[in-house]
């Protein structure tokens, strides 16, 4: 038994700690090096960035200034592209929530006939590898006349985000006691009132998790954005970053600075909603 105020020192503990550090230090380096390298480029003048130094001799925010003032050929449409990313991510988050919440409520609470089949179809979509669906999806968007239109990317991302969203929301909704709905019906509530006044408030934590998931998915998407949008004014930030590479003398320090700015919002959103995400998403991902 441990007495308060008396620290027990033993060589065994030190050895355990050392062994853990032997894993912890490589894990830290492995995780951080690519991210640190990106940051290092963002704060380095061009000469320093290419010299392989671990810290620039003259750290500077000049690269950020160039990006924010759009002072480079590749950055002419930075704000438009940033805004495109914001609008598309927000639209995908909102639409996925509407579509998936309605479907989950219908399948889980209203026990709609054929609901089970729809859920299985949705699960099937969830398992189609994204890059495989992209090929026919690209042509389909062409057939619908939606290429180079933000709706093509929004609808494609809603298609990809919905199955998982429905799955997670259905799991969460099955856990709500059926007596709640029954009591509301006894009080004379209509189906829509149950949905709005009973169901939605109770589902809030899962809705936050799913909304965040859909927003991050859309914000981070590269392949579909790159296939479906092409005009400089229409593309999202990741596509713009990819286009940097087309030049022979790509301004890497600006590429990394823009990339760093682009990576900040998802990291911030993730940490803000981490509590909801980890519980809500991992529980649905794999039923153990």
């Amino acid at each position: 038994m441990k007495l308060p105020g008396v620290s027990e020192f033993s060589w065994r503990d030190v050895a355990t700690e050392a062994r853990l550090l032997l894993i912890g230090i490589p894990v830290f380096l492995w995780t951080m090096i690519p991210i640190y390298h990106m940051f290092l480029f963002a704060i380095s003048p061009k000469e320093d960035a290419f010299s392989g130094k671990l810290w620039p001799d003259h750290p500077t925010l000049h690269n950020f200034e160039i990006v924010f003032k759009q002072q480079h050929y590749f950055l002419r449409d930075f704000y438009v592209q940033f805004w495109n990313s914001v609008v598309i991510a927000a639209a995908v988050g909102a639409l996925t929530l509407v579509v998936a919440t309605a479907a989950a409520f219908s399948i889980s609470r209203l026990k709609v006939p054929g609901g089970r089949v729809v859920l299985n179809l949705a699960l099937f979509t969830y398992f189609i590898p994204a890059a495989f669906l992209a090929v026919p999806m690209y042509r389909t968007m062409g057939n619908y006349g939606l290429l180079n239109n933000h709706w093509s990317l929004i609808l494609a991302m809603v298609t990809i985000a919905s199955p998982y969203a429905i799955w997670v929301l259905k799991q969460a909704s099955d856990k709500l006691p059926v007596e709640l709905d029954e009591a509301a019906v006894m009080d004379g509530a209509t189906t829509l009132q149950i949905f709005r006044l009973v169901y939605l408030p109770l589902m809030m934590p899962s809705l936050v998790a799913i909304g965040t998931y859909a927003v991050l998915l859309a914000w981070n998407e590269y392949l579909y954005a790159f296939l479906l949008l092409s005009n400089d004014q229409d593309i999202t930030l990741p596509v713009a970053l990819g286009n940097f590479l087309s030049a022979d003398d790509s301004p890497w320090e600006l590429l990394m600075t823009t990339g760093f700015i682009y990576a900040l919002p998802p990291a911030a959103v993730y940490y803000a909603f981490r509590r909801y995400m980890v519980g809500g998403l991992t529980a649905g991902a794999v039923k153990s």
Partner: protein, 290 residues
């Protein structure tokens, strides 16, 4: 509305609204948006794609394209070697992160970053690090050994290995997180009892941890395989399929044909992956919808 059975014997069917309760009508209305999305952006594209891939000539052409054979082999290497290495590391790390230490908690918060941040800037960052002339990696090799490092992305074997490493970097946190959840679900008194009996850490792993996590581990491995088939970024952003189209995997190959306007080849290359994908999907659906 009436259903005519035969001749003059007409049996009026009850109107739709009386057969369905209001709740069921709402059920159908609320399910409709997803059904529309599913029909317009899954059923139609997939059927259309399969229709485009219907000519046997496409498969002959695919078979004769050396890039396809190479991409198929690369995909297998990715799936069989890459995924198993990743899942083994995730299993080990899930044990590490399950330890109760303040600094390990902090490390786990940082560890999740690769999963949370977008692929493109981080993978491009790795790409620059591996640049033979200007990259940080060869700079270090030169500083410590005085030799020039390898030309990382110009040798197909090394380039593919690096693409697998990037894939692991990106998706390891997610699988580790899932396996930690699995580990924490094991009742703690099992370990306490084993400790009383003087079990070694290996015995504890062998007889308690592994049996309780085996199912989860296999499910995760299979799911990871399906998703890795759809991972376009790790290869495309790091190597672009190069050098000389030798590091393509099926997902980048499909997009390559698409960009070359050879849509039937693009679809055919995906159809060729179906014998691998469908059993995995079937198995996953059985597991999840139990």
């Amino acid at each position: 509305m009436a259903i005519t059975l035969s001749g003059d014997q007409a049996v009026p069917a009850p109107p739709l609204s009386s057969r369905l309760t209001p709740a069921q009508v709402w059920g159908i209305v609320l399910l409709a948006p997803y059904l529309l999305v599913f029909l317009a952006f899954v059923v139609y594209p997939v059927s259309y794609g399969l229709w485009l891939a219907r000519h046997p000539a496409s498969y002959v052409e695919l078979y004769n394209d050396p890039v396809f054979a190479r991409a198929a082999i690369n995909t297998l290497i990715f799936l069989v070697i890459g995924i198993n290495i990743k899942m083994l590391i995730a299993l080990v790390l899930s044990g590490f992160f399950a330890q109760q230490r303040t600094w390990i908690k902090w490390l786990s918060v940082i560890f999740i970053l690769p999963w949370a941040v977008p692929s493109i800037p981080t993978i491009l960052s790795v790409r620059f690090m591996l640049n033979p002339e200007w990259g940080m990696v060869n700079h270090f090799i030169f500083t410590f050994t005085g030799d020039d490092g390898p030309n990382w992305l110009n040798d197909p074997t090394i380039a593919l290995t690096m693409a697998i490493a990037v894939h692991i970097w990106k998706s390891l946190p997610f699988w580790t997180l899932i396996l930690i959840t699995g580990r924490l679900a094991i009742p703690h008194d099992l370990f306490e009892a084993a400790e009383v009996d003087g079990a070694s850490w290996w015995q504890k792993f062998r007889f308690i941890t592994w049996p309780s996590m085996q199912t989860l581990y296999v499910t995760c491995t299979l799911l990871s395989m399906i998703w890795t088939l759809g991972d376009f970024n790790s290869v495309y952003l790091l190597t672009g399929g190069g050098p000389a189209d030798l590091t393509h995997v099926l997902s980048t190959l499909g997009i390559r044909y698409l960009r070359l306007d050879q849509l039937s080849l693009a679809m055919a290359s995906i159809v060729c992956a179906m014998p691998f994908v469908l059993p995995l999907v079937y198995f996953m659906m059985k597991r999840l919808s139990r």
